[in-house]
């Protein structure tokens, strides 16, 4: 029995099906991300766990208790919103104390708990300030402290980093992960940012059009995307068509050049299939043993800072290759013929 069990929940507003039969089990202490484009239903799933929406069908169980019909105040879950949602009329300390006061805790206990929480989010000295006196990142830390003060059974985070600047976004996400590990609290995190989801989670749930597309650990999602949607939504992927030569020997051709794959392609000799290749899985240079190699021509080079993206034409396909920008290494020249190498492991065979 998992700590949180979501059974076939659906949500529709009239004919508009926002969530379609989502099943999800979350273990105690796990950090789960719901990842997908806007409108994929990820936030609605989170809001059904929190109790802000009632599922049209299905049930939500937390710690063996069916909470489907309970209102949010009865569920004992902590929630952090994209818009911070601190109470503007209260000091930081009063914000953090709010849930404890509602629960009728004694004043001394509240005071100690507030201090502990502010310490936890590394803002021990701002208790007397008002929310508008804090930066966005600080406000979101306080919102986290407020949500955790009531010792919730699960922590729900609804795009908590989207309103912040790039640098703060990275540091706060590491902060959230470290607080979560320290407390061992079961956490559900909603985001549309794939790097965020991959870097922070134990498992990632990729959603699209109200359904779960793929569920797995970050490396599984990234390295073995099962559908074309996951492959293109998570990371960059060059998508090519290939032709099966021998399904048993796992040999294919791309254009007219032979390559090998690690997994057997589904289909028979001569079938067209779709394969993908990550820009960072490819390297330049002479063909090596056991690796695939293709001949291509460099068409463009983009300088992206830490990375140089080399764009190449290989038959009918445009292939992208990423290499680190290092002072020593020289990028190839535009127009030059090159040979690219990649491991059979890195050739992703897509279902559709």
């Amino acid at each position: 029995m998992s700590f949180v069990e979501i059974k076939e929940i659906s949500k529709n507003y009239g004919a508009n099906h926002v969530v379609r039969k989502v099943d999800l089990n979350i273990e105690k202490g796990e950090f789960i991300s719901l990842l997908g484009p806007s409108g994929c239903g990820k936030t609605t799933v989170l809001r059904m766990i929190a109790g802000f929406e009632t599922p049209s069908t299905g049930s939500v169980t937390i710690d063996n208790e069916d909470v489907t019909q309970l209102n949010p105040a009865q569920r004992n879950v902590g929630m952090v919103f994209q818009a911070y949602a601190l109470f503007p009329n209260m000091t930081v300390a009063d914000n953090v104390a709010f849930g404890l006061k509602i629960a009728g805790k004694p004043a001394a206990e509240i005071k100690a708990r507030v201090a502990e929480m502010l310490e936890l989010v590394k803002l021990p000295l701002v208790g007397d300030r008002y929310p508008y006196q804090l930066s966005g990142g600080q406000q979101q830390r306080i919102a986290l402290a407020r949500a955790l003060a009531i010792s919730p059974r699960i922590l729900l985070l609804d795009e908590p980093l989207s309103a912040l600047d790039a640098k703060i976004r990275v540091s706060l996400r590491e902060e959230i992960r470290s607080v979560q590990r320290k407390l061992g609290i079961t956490t559900v995190f909603v985001t549309h940012d794939q790097e965020e989801a991959l870097s922070i989670s134990d498992r990632v749930v990729v959603m699209n059009e109200g359904r779960i597309e793929q569920l797995g650990t970050p490396p599984e999602i990234y390295n073995q995307p099962r559908t074309r949607f996951v492959a293109s939504f998570v990371g960059t992927l060059t998508i090519m068509s290939a032709k099966i030569v021998d399904p048993v020997a796992r040999t294919l051709t791309i254009g007219d050049q032979p390559v090998k794959s690690r997994l057997s392609p589904k289909g028979k000799s001569g079938d067209e299939i779709t394969v993908g290749l990550r820009p960072e899985a490819i390297s330049l240079g002479k063909a090596r043993a056991n690796s695939n190699s293709l001949n291509a021509n460099v068409t463009d080079i983009n300088f992206l800072g830490s990375i140089l993206r080399v764009k190449m034409r290989c038959g009918a396909h445009d292939i992208a290759l990423d290499m680190f920008n290092q002072n020593m290494s020289k990028p190839p020249e535009v127009g030059a013929p090159v040979t690219i190498n990649f491991d059979p492991n890195d050739l992703v065979i897509l279902d559709a």
Binding site: N71, P72, M79, A83, A85, P88, N89, F98, I102
Partner: protein, 263 residues
């Protein structure tokens, strides 16, 4: 760019003159009670008139009652509509705009018809009943201002998310309204209250048709009998109104700067 600035200032100044010139003319006239010199004689006469004092006190009490009833009706309604029934907003806006476009005279007609001495609820039979009717009428009259002010206030804070945040921390509805929503729309309510106050103090039709001794009918009575005192009364009414508006601007400014700082 500089031309347009001058144009804009000109428009603002013209607008100000539009309202201020009649006011200045009235003020100048109100000082001319004594022949050949300016004096505040007209004001002295008006302020020492016991009828003025009683009419004025009566209007203030009515205004306060109206404000309290208005807040009790508008705040929960606006909160619920914004939170749970956003689809109803056009309808509610329509209803709150009605008093602006239905001439007051029609509302009073109906009231007199419904609550006359031979009806089931003969409110107009007693003075207290009529007062109740009058203040209900005023609530309706002031509804557009109160509702607009409260609604704007609620929109400026994110009512929905704040409510959900409080709910997830275990708070129930009355608690959320009292501890989270009300403190954050205080200045909006205040601004609605001031507009209501100004409306009630200056109202004439209702009071006159229901035959209650408020400030409006008193103003008209004096206007029919005297020359300079009505001008003085108009100026007094304006100063009170102006004080209300000033407070409103202060309250609004405080709200705006708090919101500005929040961002």
């Amino acid at each position: 760019m500089k031309n347009s600035k001058i144009g804009a200032w000109l428009a603002v100044i013209l607008g100000a003159l539009y309202f201020l010139l009649p006011l200045i003319a009235t003020f100048e006239f109100s000082l001319r009670l004594k022949r050949g010199e300016y004096s505040f004689e007209a004001y002295k006469i008006v302020l020492s008139d016991p009828d003025f004092q009683s009419a004025f006190t009566y209007s203030i009490v009515l205004a306060i009652v109206t404000i309290v009833i208005g807040i009790l009706i508008v705040v929960p309604t606006a909160y619920w509509v914004q939170l749970r029934l956003p689809k109803l907003r056009p309808l509610v806006e329509f209803i709150t705009l009605l008093p602006l476009v239905i001439p007051a005279i029609i509302i009073v007609f109906g009231y007199v018809r419904m609550y006359n001495t031979s009806s089931i609820l003969p409110l107009t039979q007693t003075a207290l009943g009529t007062d109740a009717l009058l203040s209900f009428g005023y609530v309706a009259l002031a509804l557009p201002y109160m509702y607009r002010a409260v609604e704007t206030g609620m929109r400026s804070i994110d009512v929905g998310t704040l409510t959900e945040a409080a709910e997830s921390l275990g708070a129930k509805w009355p608690m959320i309204l009292w501890k989270v929503i009300l403190p954050n729309i205080k200045s909006a309510i205040l601004s609605g209250a001031f507009l209501t106050f100004a409306t009630v103090i200056g109202e004439f039709t209702f009071a006159s048709l229901l035959n209650r001794p408020t400030f409006g009918p008193y103003l008209q009575l004096i206007g029919a009998k005297r020359a300079y005192e009505p001008a003085a009364l108009a100026i007094i009414a304006f100063i009170i109104t102006w004080a209300c508006m000033g407070l409103l601007q202060v309250a609004g400014g405080a709200m705006r700067s708090a919101n500005g700082a929040k961002k």
